[in-house]
């Protein structure tokens, strides 16, 4: 017994080293779960307020650029509004009224890592919930990972574990968009079967086959593709619609029917 205690005492430093590394490993692994508490990440209110402060300071020098982008987005929306209201009658108010938007400012963003996240200045108090979809004026941005009272952390589309159910709008082919970790301008387009004729420049939009994103949110355009003789699916890349290097304002999508849709789907899955 004495020997054992001596042994433990002699290797206490190494033991502490192993213990601390174990704690770190546990933290790393447990963070990979889809949802987690807003504690050890950037939606923590203290951390986010510091980020918000540095962001406000740097924003001041880019006000002109941000303004220009917002004006451009406004113009685009006005054009779409003009098209949408021209002679169209809303047939089903439940489906047209299904989604609500929450605006948020990006206070921290990364796009050069292999797992990218961003922090928004909207949280539980503004109605943000985990797993909500995030879009910007020009397309899809990501999905909410965790939320605190006033801030939210978002898994960016530039994250290798985020899969987006999409479709090619010209052919209506269901496919999946996933980032490969290389360029922040491009992502991979997966599971397009070989009998479909795709072209460079085809637009890829969200499919609407889940409760997170509505149908038809722009994801990107096909930039290159190839098909080897024995491939079942195309190997294609898309140019992302959103420029992740300059993000300032985004919108969170609130689906009013999410509970109904998810519980129905879960019921079917169980059978």
């Amino acid at each position: 017994m004495q020997n054992l205690l001596n042994f433990l005492y002699r290797f206490r430093t190494f033991g502490l080293f192993l213990f601390l590394e174990g704690v770190c490993a546990w933290l790393i692994i447990s963070y990979n779960n889809k949802q987690n508490a807003a504690f050890l990440n950037s939606s923590n209110s203290l951390v986010a307020s510091i980020n918000s402060f540095t962001n406000n300071t740097t924003d001041y020098f880019q006000l002109r650029k941000i303004n220009e982008r917002l004006v451009a987005e406004n113009l685009l929306l006005r054009k779409e509004l003009a098209n949408a209201t021209m002679g169209q009658v809303v047939l089903d108010t439940t489906s047209s009224d299904r989604y609500d938007l929450i605006k948020a400012k990006v206070i921290n963003n990364s796009f050069r890592r292999s797992m990218n996240y961003m922090t928004l200045d909207a949280g539980l108090n503004d109605g943000v919930r985990p797993e909500m979809g995030v879009i910007a004026g020009d397309g899809l941005v990501g999905q909410v990972k965790s939320v605190s009272a006033n801030y939210a952390t978002v898994t960016s589309l530039l994250h290798r574990k985020l899969l987006v159910s999409s479709s090619i709008s010209r052919t209506r082919t269901l496919c999946t968009v996933q980032w490969d970790g290389d360029s922040p301008l491009e992502a991979e387009l997966k599971y397009v079967p070989r009998h479909i004729q795709i072209q460079q420049g085809d637009t890829v939009v969200t499919s609407g086959y889940n409760a997170i994103f509505p149908e038809g949110v722009m994801v990107g355009t096909i930039s290159s593709f190839e098909l080897e003789d024995n491939d079942v699916f195309y190997q294609a890349k898309i140019k992302l619609a959103v420029d992740f290097s300059s993000m300032d304002y985004v919108y969170l999508i609130k689906n009013k029917m999410i509970v109904e849709q998810d519980s129905l789907e879960a019921e079917v899955m169980e059978q």
Binding site: R12, T13, C24, L27, I28, S30, S42, R112, S114
Partner: protein, 171 residues
């Protein structure tokens, strides 16, 4: 005998660790070189400081960085390893004739800095980028990221430690 200059350690905390936070993923050169100079804070912890204490300090420091970068545990684990290895590594590479080593730029000099700082920074960056990458896939790009980032961080740590070194009266 451990000599601790508390003023200097506090200065290191501010310059290395706190200054890093707003620049965590902003100091990027050519898309491959990331500057993680906060590790200077761990590297310049007093020589001979109780190793357990040093590891706990490194754990706390790494975790602060982690919280800001959404990577709980990643920077902390690499920092702990550096804190665990740094004194032995210093003895092995630089060594000293005096008993009471005073770990700063004046003690290390240019060549000593290269021998003491660069390999530890390389190991630290190796762990961070491999864990973030989730393994060794696309190894070439990973290795480029690790090497350029290590050189880049070393340059910053070296420069900052040089600027913060107490003036030595020259004869």
């Amino acid at each position: 005998m451990v000599r601790i200059n508390y003023v200097q350690q506090a200065l290191h905390l501010v310059i290395f660790l706190l200054l890093q936070i707003p620049f965590l993923y902003k100091l990027i050169l050519f898309d491959v070189a990331f500057g993680f100079f906060y590790i200077g804070f761990v590297l310049f912890l007093p020589y001979g400081l109780n190793r357990s204490l040093a590891m706990l300090i490194a754990f706390a420091g790494g975790l602060i960085v982690d919280v800001f970068s959404n990577t709980p545990g990643m920077h902390a684990s690499a920092s702990i390893l550096v804190a665990f290895a740094k004194d032995s590594w210093f003895g092995l590479t630089v060594g000293s004739s005096d008993d009471d080593v005073y770990l700063d730029w004046n003690e290390l000099g240019v060549w000593g800095s290269v021998k003491y700082l660069l390999p530890l920074i390389f190991v630290h960056h190796f762990i961070i980028f491999t864990v973030e990458n989730g393994g060794f896939n696309s190894f070439g790009f990973l290795l480029a990221k690790i090497s350029y980032s290590a050189l880049y961080s070393f340059t910053i740590v070296f420069g900052l430690s040089f600027l913060m070194a107490p003036k030595v009266r020259r004869i």
